[in-house]
Amino acid sequence: MKTFNIGGVHPHDNKQYSAHKPIEQVPIPEKVVIPLVQHIGAPAKPVVAKGDRVLGGQLIAEAGGFVSANIHSPVSGTVTKVDSIVDAWGMRVPAIYIDVDGDRWLPEIDRTETVNPICKLESQQIIEKIKQAGIVGLGGACFPTHVKLMPPPGKKAEVLIINGVECEPYLTCDHQLMLEHSEEIIIGIQLLMKALGVSKAIIGIERNKPDAIAKMQQHATHTLGVTVEPLELKYPQGGEKQLIDACIGKQVPSGGLPIDVGAVVDNVATVYAVYQAVQKNQPLISRVVTVTGKQAARPGNYLVRFGTPLSVLINFAGGVPEHTGKIIGGGPMMGRAMCNIDMPCNKRVSGVLMIDEDEALKHEPLNCIRCGKCMKACPMGLEPYLLAKQAEHGLYDDLEKRHVMDCIDCGCCVFTCPSYRPLLDYIRLGKAEVGARIRARQQKK
């Protein structure tokens, strides 16, 4: 079985808590708050004002730049204010507050479950529809999908890679989506292939999801050009560059994009959103979120409308168990502990993980013993121990020379470090500073 070549670690996947739990719909709360920063890039600009009545699926904020995404109302109701809200990490972000009065939708939106496989649209029309629907990468980075579908001039996409890996421990939302909506995902893949003008698509799925592999294979056999690639278990296989390496054996050059090797990578959840946007006219207003943890009362996969406070979602899933040490947004490897669970669910949230007090305990960092484990684990072939030290001491020129910008924040180095050193904390600081310097330089030019 294939996998990527450099580095990687094997954390316990802990998916048994929420795996195979059917997707449950979370009831719509009485009030929703829609943050305007749910993607990478410029914040969206609100197009509604206080007192406006909105229907489900109606545009409420438009993209604030080329790399940005539209935001739609997930409910019908009245806009009460356009203000700000404290996000999960205590920072204020602009947001639209809506009082819910029901679940009425714009007339063109098809809310039925019937599968619609026929699409007569041209490539450009599909991309335009995806753009209008405000679809972003639901794998975690939240990069606007329509930007990926428009390769810069001179570059041509050759293969579409679909990320069904879900290498992050605990999370099962993509797995369950593949089981329940495999047919729609295959149609979504065909739409994306048409949009990109490619004839080949590979669905990468790790072998700990045999039922998903079988289900996707069953539908893919009837579809020209679509193959399912079962992959060996290894974290971070779901990383864009790692997945390309695993599926087609090509390495994205340092500082490059997947399109440099002719690949475009999209997550299965994104593909499902594309299907809904193009075939059902339904913009991105909800997603599947895994709520899990060793002590969680009702771990499972929940379909949540954006704007629903995470606390409502957690309560629906049985509440916060006793002796919870930390509540993490996302998975245990790349997620961040949250300090405010009243934050509304949005495009960025893929999981809510509640871990015990003793699991959450942090070890006191010890001295680096130069064992080189972090270098062996780094999937980008970097030297994390050195980068962390250089970032700590502000040696930004050296950091840039040593390709700190290639770091994908996967956390393998910290996971493997026997001295419990906070390598990634410092590497992130270095990345932020080096990134700012590179941008400043580009602007000067």
Partner: protein, 320 residues
């Protein structure tokens, strides 16, 4: 024996030849350097802190020797004294500069700013700042991990265990600006030291709306603008819901301190205010505005203070 003599002669001749060669080479490739650079460098403190904006003391010395005047060149550590010496060597007069000092603009003490969560990660303000808002609800305030303490080469900053906030030792601070650069929340500012180290400043940088700021911290500036109205010298501006006192315009009259409803404006090193006659401290602070209209406004201000019953912040400050 013979070998010894031959070896000695051979070595001696080689040494002689090499020295002659080196002499000519040294003459030929001599680097012309201003001899004054060394003199200037000797006068400078040699801390190599970079507070002057150059890579180190030698770099500042070179810049001084190259420059046609000493305007804009200042060693913050040595201050006016050292710059006068440098001026003497170079035959120039240094620009008169006010002595500066680092000022911590956050008063979110443990009692005023309740903790809402517990952080157990890396103890570094920079790291916390990159992760989230911090243990309190104020996303602008001091994180209290002491990055500034570590940055200070002169031991002038320490964290007060009672308040959890950094404090600057006026005597030790050389205003090199290392703490200003290192603070990820931009709380520390270099301000004029002031006569007898007396200073008035807004001890808050919270840009949130008044109600939100106040909810997060009892001592926050709520941007009400009372101080702006009170100030007769136009030294105070309220921008982004936070007041700022321009130290070049401030005349240290301290009316804003009394006007502030939350006690966000701090006065430092003033003698305790004699309650009935505020005019005397005014005179001490060298604010030479003494007409009738002035005293009237002042009387009004006093009345306001009493009306608000907010004389508490002043008392707190004196205690400190």
């Amino acid at each position: 024996m013979n070998f010894l003599i031959i070896a000695l002669i051979a070595l001696g001749v080689t040494g002689l030849l090499a020295s002659v060669l080196l002499y000519f080479v040294a003459q030929k490739f001599k680097v012309e350097e201003d001899p004054r650079i060394d003199l200037v460098q000797d006068v400078l403190p040699g801390a190599n802190c970079g507070g002057c904006g150059f890579a180190g003391c030698r770099a500042l010395a070179e810049a001084c020797c190259k420059a046609s005047s000493l305007d804009g060149l200042l060693c913050p550590v040595g201050g006016q004294e050292v710059m006068t010496k440098v001026g003497d060597i170079l035959g120039m007069t240094p620009q008169a500069a006010d002595p500066m000092v680092a000022v911590v603009r956050c008063n979110g003490t443990c009692t005023a700013r309740a903790k809402q969560n517990r952080y157990d990660g890396t103890l570094s303000c920079k790291v916390i700042n990159s992760l989230y808002a911090g243990e309190t609800a104020c996303p602008f305030g001091c994180l209290g991990c002491g990055d500034c303490v570590e940055a200070c080469q002169f031991g002038a900053i320490h964290i007060n265990p009672e308040t959890g906030l950094p404090e600057v030792d006026d005597e030790k601070c050389t205003s090199c600006g290392a703490c200003v650069k290192t603070c990820p929340r931009h709380i520390i500012e270099l301000r004029k030291k002031g006569p007898k180290n007396r200073r008035v400043f807004v001890s808050c940088v919270n840009k949130d709306k008044g109600a939100i700021a106040r909810k997060a911290c009892l001592n926050a500036c709520i941007g009400c603008g009372k101080c702006e109205k009170e100030c007769q010298f136009g030294a105070i501006t309220v921008e982004n819901q936070v007041a700022y006192i321009d130290f070049t315009k401030c005349r240290l009259c301290r009316k804003c301190v009394a006007a502030c409803p939350t006690g966000a404006i701090h006065e430092l090193n003033f003698p305790p205010k004699p309650a009935p006659k505020p005019a005397t401290t005014e005179a001490e602070a060298k604010a030479k505005v003494e007409d009738k209209a002035e005293t009237k406004v002042e009387a009004k201000a006093e009345a306001k203070v009493e009306g608000n019953t907010k004389a508490e912040p002043v008392a707190k400050e004196v205690k400190q």
